[in-house]
Every structure is written in structure tokens, then in C-alpha cells.
Amino acid sequence: MATCWQALWAYRSYLIVLCLPIFLLPLPLIVQTKEAYCAYSIILMALLWCTEALPLAVTALFPIILFPLMGIMEASKVCLEYFKDTNILFVGGLMVAIAVEHWNLHKRIALGVLLIIGVRPALLLLGFMLVTAFLSMWISNTATTAMMLPIGYAVLEQLQGSQKDVEEGNSNPSFELQEASPQKEETKLDNGQAVSVSSEPRAQKTKEHHRFSQGLSLCICYSASIGGIATLTGTTPNLVLQGQVNSIFPENSNVVNFASWFGFAFPTMVILLLLAWLWLQVLFLGVNFRKNFGFGEGEEERKQAAFQVIKTQHRLLGPMSFAEKAVTFLFVLLVVLWFTREPGFFPGWGDTAFANKKGQSMVSDGTVAIFISLIMFIIPSKIPGLTEDPKKPGKLKAPPAILTWKTVNDKMPWNILILLGGGFALAKGSEESGLSKWLGDKLTPLQHVPPSATVLILSLLVAIFTECTSNVATTTLFLPILASMAQAICLHPLYVMLPCTLAASLAFMLPVATPPNAIVFSFGGLKVSDMARAGFLLNIIGVLTITLSINSWSIPIFKLDTFPTWAYSNTSQCLLNPPNSTVPGH
């Protein structure tokens, strides 16, 4: 009997793909309207995404099949949704990230910062978190985690080895040489103490070390997720928001761009990172702050040993190559151009040099990203460039460019590109079929709930949902509904969409929640309960931090205190009674 269930489990992907469309059939058959047809498509895709019965990108292709067959949208219109301005921003940003990875620039940055911060337990934790968060702002969360984890484990191994030396009273000759003669006397005293004490302290130290290694592992994957929210290209849900806002509200004058997003999300990230650090410190290092910050006997040797590990790794990288310098320069240039294109509080270079008739920028963040990527295909990776071809003596050969197409083709996650497009197609279909309007009408009663409470509840809901589903799929499913709801209750759409987008990235409790968690989990040493316990409170902290930011500095950035003209729709009641304020004031 048990075997039968195992058989069913083995075939579950096929069964889900075949049965789901049939089980959901009553919906379009009973309610024969366009709204129901669209709802059928969305629910089908939502369930396929949650169960991952098909690759996520393949499920994302369903609108191309279902919308034309059901008479919702023409095929030619559906396909356009798959490659919008936002998708190009994604491609361009990733090309730059691939260049950074390809030339190991991210590793150099990581080791450099760790050398500066030092290796006391609490500071070590902070160092790893800062570095990981910073890198994952620009590189994918997954790549950042995969790079930082080996470094973390190397440091941990060295710390454990050094601790054993201290316990056994066998000082390394190198340390003896470095220390003055008075240290020897202290060592002898330590020897005496160590010998006289029973094995209990040793077991306790081993346990402490185990806890520390767990903490270090978790802080890496958590800070990768936290860091990813700070920039528009840091994680895909952020781009989903931008694409959906531009799709659902075409008249908005590019409210969400790289600069405005950063102004909103970066402070949020810093606060959340700090709180996460404190929480992980308490959880895995204990409340003895004096000890955590490195005051005490016997820590000096451990500190130097760990420092040496990082220093050795840094030296192994060798001097900075021309390619690394070029990538660094282009990377900084990219960020500067993004920030200064259309800052909002003063005219940027996009507004002045490349404006259209309405005074808006013809150039987008995607244009900038592709521009920088293009330069990377042009600049050679060595100077002077000409060298002899090893295979054919006497024949000169130019060095390859910093980026080659083969590198990009192999590393670019084309499936996410399609997944991104599928989300936009879904949103467009909702709008065209009238499903969005129908949902908006159904959600009108929420008008009586205070907006800040609405945001808090929705953020919690999204944070929980995203634990079980891909972050991108979560955002894709929720944002169109939130947009309709906001219109229905006369709320600024970004007031509910922004918090939920950030909340979708708060996936801390389960290994399957997001790839960085899965990578850390697969290294061993962690149980699901460890991650769930640490992550639960972190989710709460995250939601509260987001609520704080949306009700404070976000208001002037996005003008959340008024209902914007670009969000008016024909059926909106806001036309009749435009409110002065939608946010509770003092």
C-alpha cells in the first residue's frame, strides 16, 4: 500500500499537469465571460508555478496559448509583453554582473572588505553580512551566496584549528616567535589551567563553534536576500514591479526608476541588515556582548589565524588585472549614469539632453545598461593586447574582449527572462479581459480598513506565501490584484505595491524559499528547524521595517499622500471625491 503512494508521488508532476486543467474547467464553463476565462488561466498558472510541475519558464509561456484560444488577446499583442523595456534592463544588468563574476572582481571586493573589518566574532558576522549584501545588490543573490560560502567555511576551519591549539597548550612556533617573552609565562599559566580543567569546557567550546558556524552560514544567505532588495536590478521581483506599473499605468511618468527605487529601498535594507545582525548575534553567539566583541584571553591567536586565512586568499588573487580595472570603472560609470538620468529632485542628463516633446527622457535605465554592456564587448581584456598565438608561431592574435557571447549565452538565465515576460502578459490579459476591474469591484469594501493596516496585513501575507513559491511568481500573481484594489479604494497604487514587492524577497524560513537558502542548506550543518526558527522572527522584523519605510521617507519620494492622476480609471470613484489625503496624518 505504501508503495502505491510512492508511485503516485513519483508521477506527481505528470498527474498535476494533466489533472489541473480539468479540475479547474467548471470555472470557465459555468461562468462564460472573459473575466472567468482569464481567471482560469491565472489560477492554472499559479498552481503550476506553486507545484513546479513544469519548469517555471515553460509555465510562463501559457498566456501565448491560452489567451488567443480563449479570445482574450490576440497572439501578436500577447507576445509583445515578453520583451519590454524592463526585460532589457534585466538583460543589460545581468551582462554587467556576468562580467564582474567572470573576472572574479566580486571575490576581490569581498576579501578586501573582510580584511578591513577584522575577525572578532560579532564583527566577523557583520563583515560577511555587509559584503554579501553589497554584492547581491549588483550580482544575483545566488552567485553571491555561492561565492561567499567557501570563504566563510575556510575561515571557520581555521578558527576551529586555532582553538584546538590553544586548548591543548601547544603553541605554534610562528606565534611564539611573534610574541614577546612575557607571553610565555602567560602561556604556561594557561597550560596549567587547561590541564586542571575537565573535558566539559572543551565540549562547550565545540558546541559554541558549531553554533557560530550555523550563524555564519545563515547570515550569508539572509544578507544575500536582504541586499537584493536595495537596487532595481538586485532581484527580479523589483523589476516585475516596474514592468507592471508601466504596463497597468502607462501614463505614469516613469515614477519607478533606478534612482527613486534606491532612495526608497536602500535605507530599508540598511535597517533590516542591522536588525538581522543583532538577531543572529543573539541567537547564535549569546548575549555576552563583551565576549562577542573579542575582549578576553586567548582570542588573540584565533583572531590572527582567521585574519591570515583571509589575507592568504586575497594574496592568491594576485595583482589587479587590466580587465578587473576596466570592469570596475564601467561598473561605477553604470551606477552613476543610472542615478543621474532622472533623479526627480533636479533635472538629470536624460531629461535635458535626450528629452522628447513632453520633456520626458527618451532614454531609459535599460538603454544605459545595454550601453555599458556593449562597451564590455569592445574593450580588450589585456593591454598591450597583441600576443603570439600558441598554436601557430609567428602569427599575432588580439586578446578576447572583456565579455564574449559564449560567456553570456552560458550564464544568462534565459528562463527568468521568459518568466518575467509571462508575468507582464498575465497582467495585460487581466486588464484586457476585465478581470482586474471585476476584482477591483469585489475589493471595494476594503475601503473602510485603515491603509496602514492594509499594508501590514498584505505584506505578512506575501511574506508567508513567498516561503513556498518562487519570489518572482509570488510578485507576478499579487501585483495586478493589488493595483486593482488600490484603484478601487482610492489609494496610491505604489503604497500597497511597493511593500509587497519587498516582502516577496523576505524568504528566510525554508530552504526551498529561495536559491541562496538552498545553497547554504546543502552545505550541511543546518536543519530545517534552525532556518525556520531564525527566519520566522526575521520575517516579522522585515515586515515591520518595510511598514516603517513606506510610512516615512517613501511618502515624499513617490508622493504617496495623494492619489495620482495616472491611476485614475473610468470606473474609479476617486474622480467624484478626490481625497486630500489617504494616509493618516498627525
Binding site: 490576440e74 520583451f83 527618451m362 531609459s364 538603454t367 557571447w405
Partner: protein
């Protein structure tokens, strides 16, 4: 003198960088010589054209230039440029590519090829015909490159068995070359560069040096063997290029035509998978037959004379060996698997649904749905989705009740990881770049400006215009990528057609098919360079054979355009959907639209 030579070498090595930096400067005068918007757009197009022709940047990276330059120059906002990269034409192409990777994954193409070869026999002329038919059929559905890469090893194996040990010693040094060709084919991303061309040329010279040493020994027989080798090797890339023209998804230029038609003439729905096939397939068959005759005459003539004398016993034995080789290869594939059957059925369904959606002469299945909603892309993506969940092993009822059988999850026909690796994503971006460029032409008014410049051509008879256009494009494509060629020419042809008051398809279709006729140089198209890299062919062999192939192609294309294409696309009248564009571009008397093409 030595210093000059060294300097020349250095300049040559850095030529890619020099082209990248100097061309934008050299083209600057265009910005000032033309009206502002038109000039800027022309600047971008010429810049891209030069980059594509010289391949200073990867083709697909050049295709991304409109995303940078159009917004900067005020031609199109970024939000309008980007969607051009994923029209539903791109999805039709993507689904075709994914279907092709499923076929390759399960070696279905190899089984089909060997089966056909077993049927046609192993006499040289018949063998060439078998190879050509098989290759062209496969390249209708797979990429031309993959078809060529798969057929070459089979051809080499057969030829070795035909000519026995005497060729063995000579062939050993070239094993590496054939491996290289196979690797290139597997990669599916290799685009020939001038470096490869130079390397191949040197390889050719090596063979030249070897040839005289063999001459004293039975020179007649030696020449015969060499000709057979060349005939075989040259027929494969040629039939791959010819076969690719028969279906809409067979080669990228065909899809470029479809995408640009939708861009210039949104009301036009004449070209779809079914109607294109009806036009192009007969043309392909005709060209294949004529090509076979020409290659057999050129390289198999000795066989004819030898046959009249008497067939030697040795040759008969060789042919038996060749037949044995083919059968052995077929046996090695083993019995047909469930996965192969599944892919085959899905492939047939794919083709049938594409044909029957909207054939034009009878209502297709698309008429069951809302008009204008369903396109070929819907069909393609639907079938391809099935590949990702259909099991690759036969589901067994017994398995459910056998408690000792392993409970492992079965694999689908295709995984995303596999699709990611084999699909050439750069070509999709290249397609998009072409569409973006066309959009920029239209929005900036460059198309209308070019049309004005072409005013003097109004007096040229349409029949002659088609011939001239096809010849120009067929030879231009020898030096540039087929896709890049058609991207550059199509907007001009569309505008020219309106000026001549000719049905736009009358000029655009010959241009599209003509740019797939790249037979003369190894760099013309990847199949040519793969065949060339085997080392048995010289550039002059390809040029000599290809020149007449080009001319015959042009003539057959003209024949097709003036016969059955007239009926399929109603080329005898100036269509309403072109009138709209014409009215916008210029104000012309409507009376002139009554008669646009002289029919005999």
C-alpha cells in the same frame, strides 16, 4: 620592408578594434548631409551594417545597438524599441528551435537520415541525391547548421568505405578537422570569422601540396576519387541552404520577412506557415533537382563514362561495403524508442497544425476561434510546451502494481537545462534587432526618404526589377550573414515596391529567398564553412560550383514568382493593405493601382 610587414601584421591583428572605433567616425558626415531624423537613422543602419559584415562584434550584440542609439538620437523612445525584440514571430522561431533540440536530443534526425540512405542505394549519383534529399528535408525543420553537422560524419564514413584503405592514410591528418566540424555543429552557435576562413585556406594549401605526390599513381582513378569526395561534401551544405527556404521556420530570413511585413503593413496576413510552404516547397524541389544534376555532371561525370565501359569488380565490392556501413550505423541506433516515437508524433502534429491553421484556399482550424487572435506562434508554443512534461519512457500499467520496481520519477522529453544549452539565443536577439531597425526606419521617415531617392526607378519594368534585385542580394549575401543581408534590404524593397506600384511581396519574397542562396564562399553561411573545414574542398571548388548555382537559383526564383506565386499571394493586384501605407507615404492617384504586373 620587414618592419612594414611586421606593422601590417599588427594592424591586421587589431583590425576588429580598428573597425569598431573608426567606422563611427567615418560615417559622421551622413549625420549632416541628410535631414536630421532620417540622417541619424541611416547612420545607425550603416553602422550596424558594417559591424555585421565585418563581425567586429558578435552579431547579436550588434543587434542590440538600436536599444542604445535610437533613444540617444531621439528616433524612438526606449519603451518602443524594446518590444520589437519579442514579436510573435520570435516566439514562432523559438518554438521551432525548441522542437529541433528535442529531435536532436533523441537522435531522431539520425534515424531518418540513415533510413532514407538505405532506400536510395550507393551508386555515386544516387548517393548524392539521397544525401541532398535527406539534408534538405532535415534543414526544413532543424537549423541548416545542425543538419550539415549531422550529415557530414555519415558521408565521410560512406566515402571511406567506398574507397577503402588507399584513402585511409591520406585521411588521418583530417580526423581533427571532422571532429572540429562536429563540435561546431553541436555548439550551434559558431559563426564563421575571417580567422577561421584564413585557417581553412591554409588547410587547403596543404592539400594542394599533397596532391602532386599522388598523381603518378593511376591519375585517372585518383581524380575520380577526389571528385566524388568533393561532390559529396559540397552537395550537403548546398542542400541544407536550399531546404531551409521551404518552411517559414527553416531559416531566419524567412521569419524576418514575416516580422517586417507585420511592421510595415499591419493589415497584411497573406504570409503564414501554410501559404509560404505552398510557394516555397515546389521551388525547393525544383532547385534541388537542378542542383543535383549540376553537381552530378560536374563531379560525377567520370562515373558516367566509367559506367559505360564496365563496372569493375572492385567497385562493386566497394559499393557493397558502403551499403554495409549504412546498415551498420542504422543497427547501432537500436530499436526505435518510446521517446523517439513521441517526438516524431509531436513533430508531425506541429507541422500539420501549422499548415492547417489558415491555408487560405479552405478555412483552417483557426476559424473556430475569434478572428485575428490565433497566430502560428500559438501553435508552436502549444506543441513545445507538451515536450516539457510528456514522459520519455513508456508508462506501464504493470509498474503501478509491481512493488519491487524502482519508484524513480521519469524524465520528460526535454528539460529546460537542455533547451537552454542548445537553443541559439543570439539568433533571437538578432531577429529582434532587425525588427527594431525596421521600426526605426519607419518612425524616423527614412523609409519615405529612400523611396523618394528611388523615384527614377519607376520606369523599370517590374519583371526586370525582380531579376536585378535577386541577383544583387544573392551576391551580397556571399559576404555578409544571410540574416543581416535581409534586414538591411527589406525596408528598401518595401518602399521601392510602393514606388513602382507593384505588390510589395513581388519584390520582398525574391529578396528573402535570394539571400538564402549563399553558395560561393565558405564564409557565406555556416553550413559552407563546416563542409569546407573537412579539408577536401578548395575555395575555387566552391566558387565554381556555386556561381552557376546562384544563377540557377535566381532564374528559378523568377520563374516561381511569375507563375504559382501570382496565384498564392495575388500578386496581380496592388493590395489594400499596401494602399494604406502608400497613402501615408505619398499622395498618389488611385487609378494607377489597377494594373501593376504584366502577366504573359
Amino acid at each position: 620592408m620587414a618592419a612594414l610587414a611586421a606593422l601590417a601584421k599588427k594592424v591586421w591583428s587589431a583590425r576588429r578594434l580598428l573597425v569598431l572605433l573608426l567606422v563611427p567616425l567615418a560615417l559622421l558626415p551622413i549625420l549632416f548631409a541628410l535631414p536630421p531624423k532620417e540622417g541619424r537613422c541611416l547612420y545607425v543602419i550603416l553602422l550596424m551594417a558594417v559591424y555585421w559584415c565585418t563581425e567586429a562584434l558578435p552579431l547579436s550584440v550588434t543587434a542590440l545597438l538600436p536599444i542604445i542609439l535610437f533613444p540617444f538620437m531621439g528616433i524612438l523612445p526606449s519603451s518602443k524599441v524594446c518590444p520589437q525584440y519579442f514579436l510573435d514571430t520570435n516566439f514562432l522561431f523559438l518554438s521551432g528551435l525548441i522542437m529541433a533540440s528535442a529531435i536532436e536530443e533523441w537522435n531522431l534526425h539520425r534515424r531518418i537520415a540513415l533510413k532514407v540512405l538505405m532506400l536510395v542505394g550507393v551508386q555515386p549519383a544516387r548517393l548524392i541525391l539521397g544525401m541532398m534529399v535527406t539534408t534538405s528535408f532535415l534543414s526544413m525543420w532543424l537549423s541548416n547548421t545542425a543538419s550539415t553537422a549531422m550529415m557530414l560524419p555519415i558521408a565521410s564514413a560512406i566515402l571511406k568505405s567506398l574507397f577503402g584503405q588507399r584513402e585511409a592514410r591520406k585521411d588521418l591528418p583530417r580526423e581533427g578537422d571532422e571532429s572540429t566540424a562536429a563540435v561546431q555543429g553541436n555548439g550551434l552557435r559558431t559563426v564563421p570569422t575571417e580567422m577561421q576562413f584564413l585557417a581553412s585556406s591554409e588547410g587547403g594549401h596543404t592539400e594542394d601540396a599533397e596532391a602532386p605526390m599522388e598523381l603518378p599513381d593511376d591519375s585517372k582513378e585518383e581524380e575520380h576519387r577526389r571528385n566524388i569526395w568533393k561532390g559529396f561534401l559540397i552537395s550537403i551544405p548546398y542542400s541544407a541552404s536550399i531546404g531551409g527556404t521551404a518552411t517559414l521556420t527553416g531559416t531566419a530570413p524567412n521569419l524576418i520577412l514575416l516580422g517586417q511585413l507585420k511592421s510595415f503593413f499591419p493589415q497584411c496576413d497573406v504570409v503564414n506557415f501554410g501559404s509560404w510552404f505552398i510557394f516555397a516547397f515546389p521551388l525547393m524541389l525544383l532547385f534541388l533537382l537542378v542542383g543535383w544534376l549540376w553537381i552530378s555532371f560536374l563531379y560525377g561525370g567520370m562515373s558516367w563514362r566509367s559506367w559505360r565501359k564496365k563496372k569493375s569488380k572492385i567497385r562493386a565490392d566497394a559499393e557493397d561495403q558502403a551499403k554495409a556501413v549504412i546498415q551498420e550505423e542504422f543497427q547501432n541506433l537500436g530499436p526505435i524508442k518510446f521517446a523517439e516515437q513521441a517526438v516524431f508524433i509531436l513533430f508531425c502534429t506541429f507541422a500539420i497544425l501549422l499548415f492547417s491553421r489558415d491555408p487560405k484556399f479552405i478555412p483552417g482550424w483557426a476559424s473556430l476561434f475569434a478572428p485575428g487572435f490565433v497566430s502560428d506562434a500559438v501553435t508552436g508554443v502549444a506543441i513545445v510546451t507538451i515536450l516539457f512534461f510528456f514522459p520519455s519512457q513508456k508508462p506501464s500499467l504493470k509498474w503501478w502494481f509491481d512493488f519491487k520496481a524502482p519508484n524513480s520519477e521519469t524524465e520528460p522529453l526535454l528539460s529546460w537545462k537542455k533547451a537552454q544549452e542548445t537553443v541559439p539565443w543570439n539568433i533571437i536577439l538578432l531577429l529582434g534587432g532587425g525588427f527594431a531597425m525596421a521600426k526605426g526606419c519607419e518612425e524616423s521617415g527614412l523609409s519615405a526618404w529612400i523611396g523618394g531617392q528611388l523615384h527614377p526607378l519607376e520606369h523599370v519594368p517590374p519583371l526586370l526589377a525582380v531579376l536585378l534585385i535577386t541577383v544583387v542580394i544573392a551576391f551580397f549575401t556571399e559576404f555578409a550573414s544571410n540574416t543581416a543581408t535581409i534586414i538591411i534590404f527589406l525596408p528598401v524593397l518595401a518602399e521601392l515596391a510602393i514606388r513602382l506600384h507593384v505588390h510589395p511581396l513581388y519584390l520582398m519574397i525574391p529578396g528573402t529567398v535570394g539571400c538564402s542562396y549563399a553558395f560561393m564562399l565558405p564564409v557565406s553561411t555556416p553550413p559552407n564553412s563546416i563542409a569546407f573545414s573537412t579539408g577536401h574542398l578548395l575555395v575555387k571548388d566552391m566558387v565554381r560550383t556555386g556561381l552557376l548555382m546562384n544563377l540557377m537559383g535566381v532564374l528559378l526564383l523568377s520563374l516561381a514568382m511569375n507563375t504559382w506565386a501570382q496565384t498564392i499571394f495575388q500578386l496581380g493586384t496592388f493590395p489594400d493593405w499596401a494602399n494604406t501605407h502608400a497613402a501615408n507615404a505619398t499622395a498618389l492617384p488611385p487609378a494607377l493601382t489597377n494594373n501593376t504586373v504584366q502577366t504573359f
